[in-house]
C-alpha cells in the first residue's frame, strides 16, 4: 500500500501526470493510469455521446446541450462537495435532507407568497451556512464522537427533512423573487445560468483540490489515515472540514433547486443521493478513499445525466429504461475500474 500511496502523492503533486517509471503495459494501460484526469470515465462518456449521437441526431444539438447543462448543474454541485468526503474514505448520505432544508430556507427568505422577507443574496448565503452547519454536526459527530459517517449522515439526513417539514407547513412557498428565478430561467452565452454556478463551484473545487493543504491532505487521509496521523496531519480537523464543505455545497444546491422548481419543497432533494454517489463512483473516485477527484465526479455525473436524457431521445420504452440504465451503470463502472481489476489480478 505504501508505495502506491507515494506514487499517487507524486502524481497529485506533479502537474506532469503519469510518471515515466510506469511504462509497463500498452498505451491504454499507461494512459489509464493517469489519475489527474479521469481517462476511463471520459472514455465512457465519449462512448455514450457517440452512441446516442448516432442513434438520435437531436442528442448533440445546442438545445439538448442546454438541457443537459441545466439537468447536471445541481448534481454536479452536490458531487463536488461529496468528492472531498469520499476522498477521505467517509460518506455523506445527507444530501437529500440538506437540499430539502435549504430549499425551504431559501424559498422563505426571498420574496415569496408565504413570508414577507426579501433578503435576496443574503438568503443564498444563509442557506449555504445552514447546509454547512448541518455538515458541521455530521463532521463533529464523526471525528469527536467517533460514530461512522454512514450512520451519522443518515441522522443528519432526517434532521434536514425534519427542518424542511416544519418550515413546509402543508403548503409550498412559491418564489416571487425575479433575481433568484432568473438563475434557472435566463441564460448566458446560450447556457442556463445555473450551469455557470455549477462551473464556478467546479473550478473552486479544483482549486481547493490542487492548491490547498485541505485538498492535498484529503488524498493522504483517504489513502491511509494512520500514516497521515503519524505524519502529524490533524486528521480530525480536515475530516470535519470535508463534511462542512459537503454541507455547504448541498446548501447551495438547495438554493439552486428552489430556483429551478420555483418553490420551496421537501421533495426538492428527491433522487439526488443516488445520482450524486453513482456519479462520484462512476467517475473513478473510490469509496474507500484516496483516489479520484473533483473532475472525476463531474464526468461521472455527466455520464448519469446523459444516459437518462439519451434514453428518452432514443425512445427506449419507459418499462425497460430502468434496467437499461442499471446495465449502463454497471458497464461504466466496469470500464472505469478496469485498471484496478488488473492491478488486483497482478497482486494476487
Amino acid at each position: 500500500m505504501a508505495p502506491d500511496l507515494l506514487s499517487q502523492e507524486h502524481e497529485v503533486g506533479n502537474a506532469a501526470g503519469a510518471s515515466e517509471d510506469r511504462s509497463r503495459g500498452g498505451l491504454w494501460a499507461r494512459v489509464s493510469r493517469i489519475e489527474r484526469v479521469p481517462i476511463p470515465a471520459l472514455a465512457a462518456l465519449a462512448l455514450i455521446v457517440i452512441v446516442f449521437g448516432l442513434a438520435n441526431s437531436t442528442f448533440l444539438t445546442l438545445a439538448n446541450m442546454q438541457a443537459l447543462a441545466d439537468q447536471s448543474a445541481i448534481p454536479v454541485v452536490l458531487a463536488v462537495g461529496m468528492t472531498f468526503v469520499i476522498l477521505m474514505g467517509s460518506i455523506d448520505l445527507s444530501v437529500e435532507g440538506v437540499v430539502a432544508a435549504t430549499s425551504m430556507v431559501s424559498a422563505l427568505l426571498v420574496i415569496n407568497d408565504r413570508t414577507h422577507h426579501h433578503l435576496g443574496l443574503w438568503a443564498v448565503l444563509i442557506s449555504v451556512a445552514v447546509g454547512a452547519g448541518i455538515g458541521a454536526v455530521a463532521g463533529l459527530s464523526v471525528t469527536r464522537l467517533r460514530i461512522p459517517s454512514f450512520l451519522v449522515t443518515i441522522g443528519t439526513w432526517q434532521i434536514g427533512i425534519g427542518i424542511a417539514q416544519v418550515l413546509f407547513g402543508g403548503q409550498p412557498p412559491v418564489v416571487r423573487d425575479r433575481e433568484l428565478l432568473s438563475w434557472a430561467l435566463k441564460t448566458w452565452l446560450g447556457m442556463p445560468r445555473l450551469a455557470f454556478v455549477a462551473l464556478a463551484v467546479v473550478l473552486l473545487g479544483l482549486w481547493v483540490q490542487h492548491m490547498t493543504r485541505f485538498g492535498r491532505y484529503a488524498y493522504v487521509i483517504g489513502g491511509g489515515e494512520d500514516i497521515a496521523r503519524l505524519s502529524g496531519i490533524k486528521v480530525a480537523r480536515f475530516r470535519t472540514l470535508a463534511f462542512i464543505v459537503a454541507g455547504a455545497c448541498s446548501g447551495l444546491a438547495g438554493v439552486m433547486a428552489t430556483s429551478r422548481s420555483g418553490q420551496g419543497a421537501v421533495a426538492n432533494g428527491n433522487g439526488y443521493l443516488f445520482l450524486t454517489i453513482a456519479g462520484v463512483v462512476i467517475g473513478g473516485t473510490l469509496l474507500t478513499g484516496g483516489r479520484g477527484g473533483v473532475l472525476h465526479s463531474v464526468v461521472g455525473v455527466l455520464i448519469m445525466v446523459s444516459i437518462t436524457n439519451g434514453m428518452i431521445l432514443v425512445g427506449i420504452s419507459p418499462y425497460v429504461q430502468q434496467s437499461v440504465q442499471g446495465a449502463i451503470v454497471v458497464l461504466a463502472v466496469t470500464a472505469t475500474l478496469w485498471r484496478l481489476r488488473e492491478r488486483l489480478r497482478v497482486v494476487k
Binding site: A67, N270, N309, L313
Partner: protein, 377 residues
C-alpha cells in the same frame, strides 16, 4: 426510498394527541364499564355498540410534506367536529414506512380498544392483512383507502373491515385530457408524463387519457414517459421532450400535479410557457392557483379527493362503531367502492371552488352519498 422520515409536526401533534388521549382513555374505560354486556355483539360481527361520545377516531397517512394529506386531515377533522369528537381525533404519519404504520396502529388499538375507528391509507398492499388482523383482534373498526391486495375485500374477510374506498383514475385522466385537447383547439400533438408504472391510479389515469385520444383523432400522442410522480424528474423529462420534438409539442398531459408543475418550470425555461398547454390530476392548491391565474397555460386539474376520503372514511367507520350500520348486512358496493367523480378544475370554476383543505362543505348526513361504483376483486 419513497417518502421519507419524521415529520416533526406530526410527531409533536401526535404527542399532544397521545396526552389528550390518555385522558380520554380513562373516560373510555369508565364509560365502557357501564354497559359491559355490549362487548360480545362486536365480536359476533354485528354493528358496534360504542357510546357515540367514547369513540376514538384515528387517521393514518404518509405525512404532511404532501399537501394531499393536509386535505385528508382537514376532512377527517371536519367529521370529528361534526360529531363532537374533535378531542378524540389522532393523526398518525407513517412517513412511508410500512412497519412503522403497523406499529402505530397496534399501539393505538391497544390503547383505545374496540371503540377505535381507523381510516387508513396503507403504505403498501402487503401490510393490509396485518392491519385487518390487528383491528379484528380488538374488535375495532377499519376503513381503508387506495391500496388493497387483489382478491381481498372487506365483504369476504371481516365485518370489522367496514369498507374500502378508492378513486377511479379513468374519469380523472379522461376529463383533464379532454380539457387539454379543447384548449389546444381539438388538434395537435401532446406528450404524457406517467406516474409510477405499476401503480394502479397511474394506469387508470393513463387509460383515461387513451380513451380521450380516441375521441380526438386529430390529437396525437408523441410519447409517454414515466416521471415517477416526481416534480424534478418531470422537469427533466419535459426538457428532454422539448429538445426532441421542439415546436411540435402543443400540450403536456400529466398524471399528477407535481409532475405538471415540473413541466411548467421546464416550459418557462424554454420560453414556451402559455404556448404549450398543461393538464394534470390531483387538485393541489398551487395548481389551482395557476389554473385560476390562467397565464401559464395550465388548463385543468381535478378537484382534490383528500378531504372526502378523510371525512367519509371516518364517517363510515364511526357509523359501524356506534351500531348505526351493520357492515355484514351492507351490500357489496358499500364495502368496496370508488368515490363519486369530483369533477375538474378549470379557469372558469377555479375562483369559486373551496380550497382543498376547506372541508366545511362536506355533509356527513348520508355516508353513502360518495359511493359511485363497486370495486371488483
Amino acid at each position: 426510498m419513497r417518502r421519507l422520515p419524521p415529520t416533526v409536526i406530526a410527531r409533536s401533534r401526535r404527542r399532544a394527541a397521545v396526552l389528550s388521549a390518555a385522558v380520554v382513555l380513562t373516560l373510555t374505560v369508565a364509560g365502557c364499564a357501564g354497559n359491559g354486556s355490549g362487548f360480545t355483539d362486536a365480536a359476533s360481527g354485528k354493528g358496534g355498540t360504542c357510546d357515540p361520545k367514547q369513540v376514538h377516531l384515528v387517521q393514518s397517512g404518509r405525512g404532511f410534506e404532501n399537501p394531499y394529506y393536509v386535505a385528508v386531515d382537514a376532512g377527517a377533522r371536519a367529521f370529528a367536529k361534526s360529531v363532537g369528537l374533535q378531542n378524540n381525533y389522532t393523526w398518525i404519519a407513517s412517513e412511508g414506512d410500512s412497519s412503522k404504520q403497523l406499529t402505530q396502529i397496534q399501539s393505538l388499538l391497544a390503547k383505545y380498544g374496540r371503540c377505535t375507528v381507523l381510516n387508513v391509507d396503507p403504505n403498501d398492499n402487503s401490510i393490509l392483512p396485518a392491519i385487518v388482523t390487528a383491528v379484528q383482534r380488538q374488535n375495532a373498526w377499519l376503513v381503508t383507502q387506495w391500496n388493497k391486495p387483489d382478491g381481498m375485500t372487506p365483504a369476504t374477510s371481516s365485518a370489522h373491515w367496514v369498507a374500502h374506498m378508492s378513486v377511479d383514475g379513468v374519469p380523472q385522466g379522461y376529463n383533464t385530457a379532454k380539457a387539454l385537447f379543447q384548449a389546444m383547439g381539438g388538434k395537435g400533438n401532446i406528450v404524457a408524463l406517467e406516474g409510477i408504472l405499476d401503480n394502479v391510479p397511474a394506469q387508470q389515469r393513463f387509460a383515461g387519457l387513451q380513451k380521450a385520444l380516441k375521441e380526438f383523432p386529430q390529437v396525437h400522442l408523441l410519447e409517454a414517459q414515466t416521471a415517477n410522480w416526481d416534480q424534478t424528474q418531470a422537469q427533466n423529462v419535459t426538457q428532454t421532450f422539448l429538445t426532441k420534438y421542439g415546436d411540435k409539442i402543443n400540450g403536456v398531459w400529466s398524471a399528477n400535479d407535481a409532475m405538471g408543475l415540473g413541466a411548467i418550470e421546464a416550459l418557462k425555461a424554454a420560453g414556451k410557457v402559455g404556448v404549450v398547454k398543461v393538464s394534470s390530476v390531483d387538485g393541489l392548491q398551487q395548481t389551482i392557483d395557476d389554473v385560476k391565474a390562467n397565464n401559464v397555460g395550465y388548463v385543468a386539474t381535478t378537484r382534490s379527493t383528500g378531504s372526502v376520503q378523510g371525512g367519509f372514511g371516518l364517517a363510515i367507520g364511526y357509523a359501524a362503531a356506534i351500531g348505526k350500520i351493520d357492515p355484514a348486512k351492507e351490500p357489496a358496493e358499500h364495502r368496496a367502492f370508488y368515490l363519486t367523480y369530483q369533477g375538474i378544475v378549470t379557469s372558469q370554476n377555479a375562483g369559486s371552488l373551496p380550497s382543498p383543505t376547506d372541508a366545511s362543505g362536506l355533509n356527513f348526513n348520508n355516508i353513502w352519498s360518495v359511493v359511485a361504483s363497486p370495486i371488483g376483486n
